[in-house]
Amino acid sequence: MISFNQVTKRYPGGHEALSSISLAIEKGELVFLTGHSGAGKSTLLKLIAAIERPTSGVVSVNGQNISRLSQRAVPYLRRNIGLVFQDHKLLFDRTVIENVVLPLDIAGFDRREALKRARAVIDKVGLLKREKSNPVSLSGGEQQRLCIARALVSRPALLLADEPTGNLDAGYAADIMAMFHDFHQVGTTLVIATHDDRAISALGGRTLHLDHGKITECAA
C-alpha cells in the first residue's frame, strides 16, 4: 500500500530529516514508528499524506507516485487517509458533531447522511453525549478521541497517527490504543508514530525505529 524508495527529505536550511529511506507497508498492516523526537517520524507521515514532498526518491501510496502528484490531485488522496494529530487540530468555533461532519461536507455528502455517519462514529469513540458541546470543554483524552472520530468518519483505508497518545495519561492512552487495535482488526492500515512502548507490546505489529533520518531497526 505504501512504499518508500531511496527517499530523502531535506528541509530548506539544510536539515536532512530523512536519508535514503526504503520501506514497504502492506495493506492491512499495523506499523509503529519509534525514535526520539527529531528522528524523522513526523516527516515520514507527512510524506505519505503529501503534506511534504520528498527531496529525492519515490514515495508511492496506493500505487500513486506522491512526488509526481499534481496539487489538484492532493485533496482527493487525502480523503482516503485519516489523519490523527498530537495537537488534535480541532476547530473550536463549532460543536463536536460539526467537527466530525467537516470531512463529509468537504467530500460533498448529503447533509442528513453525513450527520448520521458522524453520529455513529462519535458513538464509537464514546462521545455521543457530548455531540453538541464545544470541543474546548472536552478533556485531552476526549479531544484526541474526537480527532480520531474525524479521521475515521470518511472510512479511510489508511490511518496515520502522529503521537496520538503523546499528551495523555496512561488510562486514556490505553483507551486510544484499544481503539486502534479494533480498526486494525477490521482491516484498516495503520501507521502510528509513538513513544509508548507499552502500547506497542500490547498491540503487536511491526516496529520501524528511526534514528537521525535512517531506519536502524526493523522488528516484527
Binding site: I51, P75, L91, L102, I106, D110, S154
Partner: protein, 302 residues
Amino acid sequence: MRHWLRHQKHALATALRRLFSQPLVTLFTALAMGVAISLPSALYLMLGNLNRLAGDLPAQPEISLFLSADVSPAQKNLIASRLRQEDIAQARHIPKAQALAALGASQGLADITAGLNDNPLPDAWIVRPRQVTPDALTRLAGELGKLPGVAETQLDSEWTERLQAALAIGRTGVWLLGSLFAIALMAISSNAIRARVLTRRDEIHVSRLIGATHRYIRRPFLYLGALQGLLGGLAAGGVLALAGVMLRAPVAHLSTLYGASFQLLPPSGNEMAIVLAITTATGWLGAWIAVTRTLHQTATPR
C-alpha cells in the same frame, strides 16, 4: 450536479453566517464601498440630468439674423423673400419695437428701457434651417450674413454644441472615474476578505489536511465577497437617494427662478441594477484575489 448544488448551498449559508457574525465589519465595508461607488454614480446622474436639461432647450438649431440700423425697405423685402426659399424650415420676424417690449417685460429691465430715447435694438429674424448638419448650418449662416442689410448672423446652436462637447468629456470622465473606483472597490473587498481569511486560518489549514480542494475553501469567501459587494451597492443607492432628497428643494427653487419646471431624475431601475451588478462582481473578484493569494502563500500547510 446535486453534489455541486449542495456545495453551493453550503457555501452560501456559510457566507451569510460569516457576514452576520461580524456585523460591524460588514457595515463599515459596505459603507466604504457604497461611498466609493456613489461618487462616479452621482457624477453619471448629474450628467444625465444636465443632458436632459440641454435636451429641453431648442433642439433645432437656429440662426439669428440681426439687420443693420440703416436697412432699406427694399433690402428688407429681399431678405424676407430669401427666407421663404426651400432650405428654410421656418423664419420668424421680430421687429425691433417688439424686441424692446419683450426685453422690458421679461427681464425686469423696464426702468432701463423706459429711459432710452431711441430703440437700440435691431430688427431681427429667427431662422430655422431645414438642414441641421454643422457644415450646412455654417454655410447657410455665412450666405445669409452676406445679404445686403444684414449686420450680423449668430448660430444659436453653438452653445448647445459646446454643452454637448462638455458633456461628452464628462461622460468620458465618468468612465475613467468609474474604472478607478471599481479598482478601489476591488481593493476594499480584497482587504476585507483577506482579514476574514486570516481569522479563519486554522479552519482553512485543517480543511486542507482533510482533503478540501482550493475551490471548496474559496467558495464561501467568494459568496461573502459578492454579498459584501451587493451590500456596498445598496449603500451607494442609499447615499444617492439621500443626496437626491437633500437636493430636491434647492433644485426646484433654482428652476423656478429660471421659470422652468425641472426636477432631478433618480437612477432608473436598470441603472441601479448595473451599479449592483458591478459592485457584486468587483466584490467577488476582490475576494477571489484575496483567497487565492492566501492559498498560494500557504501552499504547504504544516
